[in-house]
C-alpha cells in the first residue's frame, strides 16, 4: 500500500494529465460534430500543458517572482522555463482554435451543417457531378 501511494498515487498530476489527454482524444476522434472536435482538441492541449506545469513545480516552492523577502526566508522557486514554454503554447492553441472556428463557420455556410458525416455525404455528392471542383467566389 505504501508502495502504491509513493509510486502511483503521489504522481496524481501526471495521471490526471494522461486521463484528460485520453478524454480529449476521444472527443476528437469519436465525435461527429466539428465544434465538439475543437472542444476535444482544447482539452487535449490543456492536458499537455498540465504535464509541463507539473514538471516545473517544486514541493513547498513559490512562484518564480524575485522578491527580497522570499529570498531571505529561503523559499525555493518553481522552475520558470516550462511556464514560458506553456505561455507560447497557449498562444498557439488559441490561434489554432480561431482558425478552426473560422473554417467551421465557412463550412456551415457552404453545407448548412456542422456534422462531419453529413458534410462528407454532401461533398461526395458534389464529387460525382464535378460540382466541388469549381471555384465559388
Amino acid at each position: 500500500m505504501e508502495w502504491f501511494i509513493a509510486k502511483i498515487f503521489a504522481k496524481y498530476n501526471y495521471w490526471v494529465s494522461i486521463l484528460l489527454m485520453m478524454i480529449g482524444f476521444y472527443g476528437i476522434v469519436a465525435k461527429d460534430n466539428l465544434i465538439k472536435k475543437i472542444l476535444g482538441l482544447n482539452i487535449f492541449q490543456t492536458a499537455i500543458f498540465l504535464y509541463f506545469i507539473s514538471l516545473g513545480a517544486v514541493k513547498g516552492g513559490t512562484a518564480p517572482i524575485v522578491d527580497e523577502k522570499i529570498i531571505q526566508k529561503g523559499y525555493l522557486y518553481a522552475n520558470p522555463l516550462p511556464h514560458v514554454l506553456i505561455l507560447t503554447a497557449i498562444v498557439v492553441s488559441v490561434a489554432t482554435t480561431a482558425v478552426a472556428l473560422s473554417l467551421v463557420i465557412r463550412m456551415h455556410r457552404e453545407y448548412g451543417t456542422i456534422e462531419e458525416s453529413e458534410i462528407i455525404k454532401k461533398s461526395s455528392e458534389g464529387h460525382q457531378t464535378g460540382e466541388n471542383s469549381k471555384v465559388h467566389h
Binding site: F49, L50, G61, E115
Partner: protein, 81 residues
C-alpha cells in the same frame, strides 16, 4: 487526513472534461469548457505558476469561450445524434 486542494480541483477538472464531451447542447458544453479552463488556471496557480494561470484565465476562460460562443451563434446549438 488532509486532502490536498489540487486533488479536488483535478477531480473537478476531469468531471468537467467528461461532461463537456458528453453534452449534446453545444452552448452548455462551451460554458463548461470555460469553467474547465478557469479551474485549470486555479490548478496552475496552485502549482506555483502564476503567469500561466493568469494567461489561461484570460485566454482559455475569456477569449476562447467568446470565440466559441460567437461561432455557435453563427452555426447551430444542438449536436445531432
Amino acid at each position: 487526513m488532509i486532502i490536498p486542494i489540487d486533488l479536488i480541483l483535478l477531480l473537478f477538472v476531469v468531471i468537467l472534461a467528461i461532461t463537456v464531451i458528453r453534452l449534446k447542447d453545444l452552448l452548455s458544453a462551451v460554458i463548461l469548457l470555460g469553467a474547465y479552463s478557469f479551474l485549470m488556471a486555479l490548478i496552475w496557480v496552485e502549482l506555483q505558476s502564476v503567469d500561466v494561470g493568469f494567461t489561461e484565465a484570460a485566454v482559455g476562460a475569456g477569449a476562447t469561450t467568446a470565440f466559441l460562443i460567437a461561432a455557435i451563434a453563427r452555426t447551430t446549438r444542438w449536436e445531432k445524434e
